[in-house]
């Protein structure tokens, strides 16, 4: 029903339940000794991916070889990709390597950061009654708002992100050079799972313009190995590339959009827990007078993205260094600022709007209020009898989530270890029945023999 890019590799999953306990939207349950993702609750933030001890959580992506299907394959890179490489690997070397590996064109999506800002500014001017406006940049945040903060859906600006704007630009540019669309393959090098979903199942659009998504980790390995194989003194042919402005380099980091926007009062918040904390307040109207919010699911924004190879702070620092150099070039007038894309600016802004973000609350107990009320009373009543220690032995992250699952017919009350012990002690359940319930959640290979102490 709902697309999500994070997948559990069942044979590899050991059912340790770390993912279940860390998931900010309580989207994971354990059944038969394996973790399962409830698709309507998953926002692809990737917290589960980070804590999995056996790499059983994977991200759906496309095969690298797919780029060879097009005579004009385009690598659309996030600026954080460059931030992964050690200082002695230059940006132009990475660009050249990508071309040697088979891409006909290489472009950093932040080239469109300025146009993205202009599109947001225009939207803000045209919608003076909607405040605060929330950036559409981070797809995990857009989904979080849809499922958990439905009343804030209308605050999300329905605007295409730099990736899409950049893709639109390159298609136009190549078409003008006489290359038909079907020969152009647009490949996004993704730093996270949420951006895969944004391409495969975009919010506010029927279909994405992007043809494929390549895992940033995998591409990093390929490029870095390629560079290592060639050795330090390899003579490469530098590409004629568009240089990013300092603003553009920084735009994916925390405060990157905020520092570019003209709003008087704005906040930049990173880390999904911090964002949820803030949105709770915002929904109550506890904070007023805010014009713009830059919200990012990852700590340190995209420098801390799931598929960031290096430490988020090391990556962030490299990007700051790059931005400082770009700023210097700008000051010296050495940089033709976005001139190429500038020609398409009006057209891109004109086509930057998508459909409004629609709420799809994950919390609804029943479409019918009377029935939902009935279920809620049952949940409250059941909760009062549960131990309230959120031990997770039932296979749900909290007693409340478990009670909700039971009332909605998705879990068996006998899976609560405390309730089971109560029934067993009253003679209402045999040990064998209890064990069967335990196995149903955790599998039958977890109970060990006697332990000598």
């Amino acid at each position: 029903m709902f697309y999500h890019a994070l997948q559990i590799d069942e044979p590899r999953c050991i059912g340790c339940s770390r993912c279940m306990k860390t998931c900010p939207t309580e989207a994971i349950r354990i059944h038969g000794g394996k973790a399962f993702i409830q698709e309507h609750r998953c926002i692809d933030c990737g917290k589960c991916y980070e804590v999995c001890p056996v790499q059983a959580i994977t991200i759906k992506d496309d095969d690298f070889e797919a780029i060879h299907r097009y005579s004009h394959s385009v690598a659309l890179l996030p600026a954080v990709f460059m931030g992964q490489f050690p200082d002695d690997v230059s940006v132009s070397r990475v660009y050249a390597s990508l071309q040697e590996l088979g891409f006909a064109h290489v472009m950093e999506v932040e080239s469109a950061a300025g146009i993205f800002r202009d599109a947001k500014d225009r939207y803000a001017r045209e919608h003076p009654d909607v405040r605060p406006l929330i950036s559409s940049f981070c797809p995990a945040i857009v989904r979080l708002i849809q499922i958990k903060y439905p009343s804030l859906s209308e605050n999300v600006m329905p605007i295409k992100v730099p990736l899409d704007l950049c893709a639109m630009y390159i298609v136009e540019e190549l078409k003008n050079r006489g290359i038909p669309r079907e020969e152009i393959g647009l490949f996004y090098i993704t730093p996270c799972a949420a951006k895969v979903s944004a391409v495969k199942a975009p919010v506010g659009e029927e279909q994405s313009i992007i043809d494929g998504v390549i895992n940033m980790n995998l591409l990093f390995n390929r490029v870095y190995k390629h560079i290592k194989d060639q050795g330090k003194h390899h003579q490469y042919k530098p590409l004629n590339r568009q240089r990013l402005s300092a603003d553009a380099v920084l735009s994916t980091l925390t405060n990157g959009e905020r520092r570019m926007c003209s709003a008087k009062r704005s906040y930049a918040i990173d880390g999904i827990e911090n964002v949820m904390d803030f949105l709770d307040k915002l929904e109550n109207d506890e904070v007023e007078g805010i014009e713009f919010l830059e919200l990012r699911a990852c700590d340190q924004s995209c420098a801390g993205a799931l598929l960031s190879v290096d430490n988020r702070f090391l990556c962030g620092e490299r990007m700051y260094t790059r931005a400082r150099k770009a700023a210097e070039r700008e000051r010296n007038g050495e940089m033709a600022r976005d001139r190429e894309m500038e020609r398409y600016k009006d057209c891109l802004i004109e086509h930057s709007l998508v459909d409004e973000v629609q709420p799809r609350s994950m919390m609804v107990l029943d479409e019918n209020i009377a029935k939902a009320l009935e279920k809620m009373e049952k949940i409250e009543n059941m909760k009062a009898h549960l131990p309230q220690i959120d031990c997770g032995v039932c296979g749900a992250p909290t007693c409340e989530a478990f009670a909700t699952d039971v009332v909605c017919g998705q879990a068996n009350l006998h899976c609560c270890v405390f309730y089971r012990l109560h029934l067993e002690s009253k003679g209402k359940m045999t040990l064998g029945e209890g064990r069967t319930n335990m196995y149903s959640v955790w599998g039958d290979d977890r109970i060990v023999g006697e332990i000598e102490v």
Partner: protein, 137 residues
């Protein structure tokens, strides 16, 4: 469904606990997001009133399939002239409360704006009761 919350005088740290809890309930009930917003804004305002201007009190919430009823009953000091207090900018807040940034006289008018039914009764020296109703449909 019935819910009760206690509000303690001067406990600004916990302001919004009742409205947050009600918010979660209404989300589970599939109440329209815009209706939900009105409920939460009005209740938060009433809750803060009881914390800032009164000596604490109780929040009673009753929900059925058609509407939510909220009663915020505080203990003193009471409002001498309710009609006057309902006007924007009119406030009976004590000076020390105004110093904290409350008492702009927007509380009651803001509640009025967001609910379908509002009834305020008050007795000086005893307390104020704010009854609010919001229809779901």
């Amino acid at each position: 469904m019935h819910q009760e919350y206690t509000v303690i005088e001067g406990d600004f740290v916990n302001a919004g606990k009742a409205s947050s809890s009600v918010k979660k309930t209404l989300k589970q009930l599939n109440v329209n997001p815009q209706v939900l917003k009105r409920v939460v804004v009005a209740l938060y305002e009433a809750e803060v009133n009881a914390i800032a201007h009164a000596y604490g009190g109780k929040v009673l919430v009753d929900i059925d399939a058609d509407k939510i009823k909220m009663v915020v009953a505080d203990k003193g000091p009471g409002i001498p002239d309710i009609a006057w207090a309902m006007e924007e900018g009119h406030s009976t807040a004590r000076p020390e409360v105004r110093d904290m940034g409350f008492g702009a006289g927007m509380g009651l008018p803001n509640m009025q704006k967001n609910v379908d039914k509002l009834n305020v009764t008050s007795e000086v020296g005893v307390g104020t009761t704010v009854e609010m109703e919001v229809n779901f449909h």
